[in-house]
Symmetry: C2
Subunit: 422 residues, 2 copies
């Protein structure tokens, strides 16, 4: 099937799915979870073939772990789908309802975005995650997964489409680009007649590629160079705990901490404690010269955890147990550093000074700005959105965690009695 | 100044303007209105030179009227700026404020979008309109006007920047691309490091160009192929009045009516009345064969207002006193026609049947959907938004009239007591 055909079918299916009742969509999600369990053997078999092919082609074990499915992961996916079925349906919700002075009854009503093009990399669980979120919100999806999980994704897409069929919902609402050629991605990005939004889920290179080549609006994000600034009034004991959490609780994700900025008044006392406290749990450090100078008196086994910062070490999303350290002279310098180096994902201040907190919140314009809290909270689940599609670091439509509501748009509805404009 | 420099300056200025108080921004708007009046002679002189150059280059009088400024238009622009100063400031507004079960205090706070690139065509009034809207919402703007109004725009930008200066606000918040070379537009569309959103204000070709070439999110819109469907239960007398209003009240704008669909059960009686009623006021008609067949018995002077519809007559935004007519067999056929041919701007049904109205509203997914009202209501002022930046026909961020609030985004702010994620 050509990509154009696939787009046309998705568009038609999206109109049918947009009209489906909440109950029917939820039944389809439950059927998807059931199907996942029933087709377990076939899915694991397909995944095994992907894993073997990846191993033959020399993929690292870390990357292979990302594409691996097993009983536990499948059960987790099924549980997620069943939980999604329980969440409220944003479609149809009315808001800003009013009757204008001329008697015209006006409101905005949430409707699905339409057709989403989702481009992702190795993890095959994204396939059913996206399929489920789209069914829930009445959107059709065109999925483009990584070539190394083609067999797994085929099996998972079969489950999703079979689940739609059980509820008489259009199979074409879940489309899969079953062709590993990268030229298809470029074609998808030009398919503006049939696709309403592109959501990349992957690394920085994928997001940049989409931004540069798409003729369709793109929701980019997911790249976080995250900062915490410890000012001179912070509770240092508690600050250590927050930094430890932000850095080590799950270092491989976008809201994990990358850089600690420390006010010069406390740097000499705080930085050695920081290195000792986090280094014990495997964190290593990149210190710029003034931070390095505060760490010279560390015992040598602790000093081994620290190295001088290189030229890119304040512009790197570590995704691992590395932390960059810098001393600043003032709140102003901390804010200026964050504006210059952060990806506007999640940045925070640790402080006992309300005026410093107020200024930090006003001037740091990141998707999530924290006062005395870990950056790890930037998450749809943590923020009470129920589900998370992606974390946006762009400014239009959605910033930060993207929940179910952000997979919708609205239309204006005006009901009159043969009203004319004066 | 290179476009890169101009972008960098706009970015820096946008950060300062984002922090300006509501009162200061409003004072700058009032200073802009005052400056417009004080600089009247210079502005009109510059405009006169633009008009003379346009006349020498053979522009039509209709187009020249679009670029003409006069005392009355300047007074209107000044009044608009003073009215804008009175509207509420969306920046800083908190919403979705909550305290999570773990005690973390969470809210979303409105912040400016940042730097807007606005590309427009002949009307010079857009220059101060956009400058005013941006100052009000704390956004910096990079303006790219039409080459035929370069002198007028220079004079107007001077007024805007002088007004910022009176309030110690950064002049660089209003940037103007003072170079008629079209290559600059392409450069602007690639300036993603410094520009957050592109807003084209012009014809379809400009919107397509931006969509195809921009690496920055674009808010497209303003193109309306608008429909009204008269079903078999409509009050025909009142329907005539609504259609008359939608077609003739201001035919040159995007929410003016382009196509009337008539249910076959009433076509023979309604269409001749429609032609008689609107034709008297200068409307001419393009009728597809079944509509044409209903009009054969018209007196010949009325039949002269009608011609058979050509192949593109149901895919044309008329922007003039032309109306396309089509007979349909059913509500389903009307909806299918609208989905296939409308630009999803403004479409409506005229009906006495609540179930038909419900189905129409559910299935027609246009930015504004009407029941028994004129399409002319799609307007920020009419919808109570206070001001209108543009009318969006895309699905992300804003649909339909774009008001002040839609020139903002939000950030999440989380305030804790050294909270860590479990």
């Amino acid at each position: 099937m050509s990509l154009e055909d696939l787009g046309r079918r998705a568009r038609i299916a999206s109109r049918q799915l947009a009209l489906a009742s909440t109950e029917r969509k939820n039944q389809a999600l439950r059927a998807m979870a059931d199907g996942l369990e029933q087709q377990r053997a076939a899915i694991l078999q397909a995944n095994q073939e992907d894993v073997e092919a990846a191993r033959r082609s020399g993929l690292s074990e870390a990357l292979i772990d990302r594409l691996l499915l097993n009983e536990k992961r499948l059960s987790g996916m099924a549980a997620d789908l069943r939980r999604l079925a329980e969440l409220p349906d944003p479609v149809g919700e009315r808001f800003d309802e009013t009757t204008l002075p001329n008697g015209l009854h006006l409101y905005r009503q949430r409707v699905p975005l339409g057709v989403l093009g989702v481009i992702y990399e190795s993890r095959p669980n994204v396939t059913l995650d996206v399929a489920g979120l789209c069914v829930k919100t009445g959107n059709a999806a065109i999925l483009r997964g990584g070539s190394e999980t083609l067999r797994s994704n085929r099996a998972l897409v079969d489950v999703a489409r079979a689940a739609l069929q059980t509820q008489d919902l259009p199979l074409d609402a879940i489309q899969f680009i079953d062709d590993p050629d990268r030229a298809r991605v470029l074609e998808l990005l030009k398919l503006h007649e049939y696709v309403d939004v592109i959501i990349p889920r992957g690394g920085e290179a994928l997001h940049r590629f989409c931004r540069e080549h798409s003729q369709i609006p793109v929701i980019t994000g997911g790249i976080g160079i995250c900062h915490l600034f410890v000012d001179e009034s912070a509770n240092l004991e508690k600050s250590l705990a927050v930094i430890h959490n932000a850095k080590t609780q799950r270092p491989s994700v976008c809201n994990a901490l990358d850089v600690v900025l420390v006010h010069q008044a406390i740097a000499a006392s705080f930085l050695p404690r920081l290195v000792e406290h986090l280094g014990r749990d495997g964190v290593t450090f990149r210190a710029e010269p003034r931070a390095w100078a505060c760490l010279t008196s560390l015992p040598s086994e602790q000093r081994a955890w620290v190295q001088p910062a290189g030229p890119n070490d304040f512009d790197t999303e570590w995704l691992s147990l590395v932390l960059s350290l810098k001393v600043v002279d003032s709140l102003e310098e901390a804010i200026a550093h964050i504006i210059a180096h952060s990806t506007a994902h999640s940045d925070g201040i640790l402080t006992g000074n309300a005026e410093n907190a107020r200024r930090f919140v006003a001037e740091v314009d990141s998707a999530a700005v924290y006062v005395n809290a870990s950056t790890r909270f930037t998450d749809g689940g943590q923020f009470g959105l129920g589900a998370e599609v992606a974390v946006s670091t762009q400014r239009l439509h959605v910033r930060g965690p993207m929940g179910l509501r952000e997979l919708t748009t609205y239309k204006w509805v005006a009901e009159g009695d043969y009203h004319v404009r004066e």
